[in-house]
Symmetry: C2
Subunit: 344 residues, 2 copies
DNA sequence: TTGTAAGCGTTATCAA
DNA sequence: TTGATAACGCTTACAA
């Protein structure tokens, strides 16, 4: 058996409670005994048992992470590892551990969350996504269990603490950028509309066009989580329109990569024939051919802030609901150019 | 407070121990009381407290995952999310939860592992990497703590349970494939030599050349974890050799992507001027330009098997040490071609 | 400043 | 087939 607080107590001739107080660095213990007890801990190689501590404290110092179901593109997206690094940094800083819940179906995930929460495995939860309708989120709210959302909640925004970019604004900005390059026929390629981030980016896009007095064209808007075959067809149809777009706002670098690929197969040159602008600025945006002009959204920071916020809530359940907006920035590379003048 | 076993006991007029037995589905409890107790559990919305259970059982049903330090390329590599999905599936199947340990320095990681292990937070550990010299691995062995390695251990291979591909063989095979295409000047671009996987792939490569009677050329071997600027220079030097290679074995798709990028900047065409063959067959291998010929290593399966193996060890600590080799397969795309005949 | 003892929610041993 | 009770390792009143 491992060495316990009792062993330390015995060796240092004090009561177990004293040892416990030394661990907590309780100021009411004399320096002298602290030294003695610490020496004993070292000698025995004592390490506190977190499980026992959790039971006594009713607190585990573990944060539960909820991912969308793993059949989603989410996992393949470099967004995940990066946000995870941020979460990890934020958690480690305050000695919190991370437990991850995932599953192949929404039902599995929901079950997992219940285990985490009602099983007392975690003190709080971070949702790594935000969807239009989400059982998990509703459940957490009902139970009044501490949680933070990464992404903008679909409803009751002012009642939920979340960390996000201003995707609406960002999308408006980049659409304006394309407009400033002279583009007027701009398409939008989005991912799954069940995710709020997609919706926000679409809305910002549409607003920019409206502000510019450009009538929106339904043919120019495509939705698909495609990466491979799926989207090929859609892009083909889009580019074979009588009046194909001269620029594309793409909701995610990964999708943009697929688009780039398809266009290259169709012998359509980027940015000469069409400009591509996407979001997230993951590593591959830089390595693609041509390198993508993309919106840096500071994914790491998002994760870091999410962890910090949750920990703050755990420390003081009464902190007011907070919205944290992480700044974004357009990184210009080589996938966008001035619209080419068409000779008639 | 949450509803406990005692509440259930009271409501169903039995002792707490009986409720506990019902939960465990102990056959020595009558069906009648089982039904009563289960009804009470439903009525109260009872969920067992894992922490208490862990303390009583001395077992948490949590598996600790140890990642290399997060400054490593590892996180950016799609390998991570995929292996994670496999681990997750394997763990969920047997109701194990996953806790992740990481950190920015090796020291931080080591500390985290100690917390996990000595703090009793986890029942076993999976190392997601294998290095030449690894403090964590040594620590786990010393304490005789259950663990499984993903990747081939550097030493004492026959004493450690691990899951891996036969990277040596795979590398030999693909080098032979390039040889069969007529290439004789073949280079190798590897990642960090501290990781065993890099070493294995290099050794297999060299063996194939030796078997073919080709003298090895140190100028043809480059090591770097570069993705961006780092490797550019190295590739430049390589291609400016008097006798540049006509083919490259690259240890990782991600590196290959960087190489592709650099070559494209240098106006060197793949596969016409040089063939590129890499490992892992991650999604981007398919989306790159040209699509990469790459070795499929079944990353998901690796994760899945690792989880399964560890759980098996936990169930029966005396199961013999096991080595699981996950099969690989060359996926031919468009980055390799027959060597071009040089007119003299 | 320190010790005693109850309690956190389970499981498991022993008796009944 | 079930119930009492100790035990898991720690924290925290309350007492001293």
């Amino acid at each position: 058996m491992a060495v316990t607080i009792k062993d330390v107590a015995k060796l240092s001739n004090v009561a177990p409670s004293t040892v416990s107080r030394v661990i907590a660095n309780n100021p009411r213990i004399s320096e002298k005994t602290k030294i003695i007890v610490r020496a004993a801990m070292d000698e025995l190689g004592y390490h506190p048992n977190f499980i026992a501590r959790s039971l006594a404290n009713q607190s585990t110092r573990v944060i539960g992470l909820v991912l969308p179901n793993s059949t989603d593109v989410f996992f393949q997206n470099p967004f995940f590892p990066t946000v995870f690094r941020g979460l990890s940094d934020g958690a480690n800083e305050r000695q919190y551990a991370l437990q991850i819940n995932t599953g192949n179906t929404d039902e599995e995930i929901f079950e997992g969350v219940i285990q985490m929460v009602q099983g007392g495995r975690v003190d709080g939860v971070i949702l790594l996504y935000s969807r239009i309708e989400d059982k998990v989120l509703n459940y957490l709210r009902e139970r009044n269990f501490p949680f933070v959302v990464i992404g903008k909640p679909f409803k009751d925004v002012e009642l939920i603490t979340y960390v996000d970019n201003d995707n609406y604004m960002a999308s408006k900005e980049v659409t304006n950028y394309l407009l400033s390059l002279g583009h007027e026929q701009i398409g939008f390629i989005g991912g799954d509309l069940n995710f709020v981030v997609t919706v926000e980016r679409l809305l910002g896009f549409e607003k920019a066009l409206r502000d510019a007095g450009i009538r929106s064209n339904d043919d120019y808007i495509i939705h698909s989580q495609f990466l491979r075959e799926g989207g090929r067809e859609a892009i083909g149809k889009l580019m074979n329109l009588q009046d194909p777009p001269t620029a594309l706002v793409v909701a995610d670098d990964l999708i943009a990569l697929g688009v780039l690929n398809t266009l290259s197969e169709m012998n359509i040159s980027v940015p000469d024939d069409i400009s591509i602008l996407s979001f997230n600025n993951v590593l591959f945006a830089e390595l693609s051919n041509p390198p993508l002009t993309s919106v840096e959204i500071n994914i790491f920071e998002i994760g870091y802030q999410a962890a910090k916020s949750l920990i703050q809530i755990l420390a003081n359940p009464k902190v007011p609901v907070k919205r944290i907006i992480v700044p974004h920035e357009l990184v210009k590379r080589h996938s966008c150019s001035h619209v080419s003048v068409v000779e008639l």
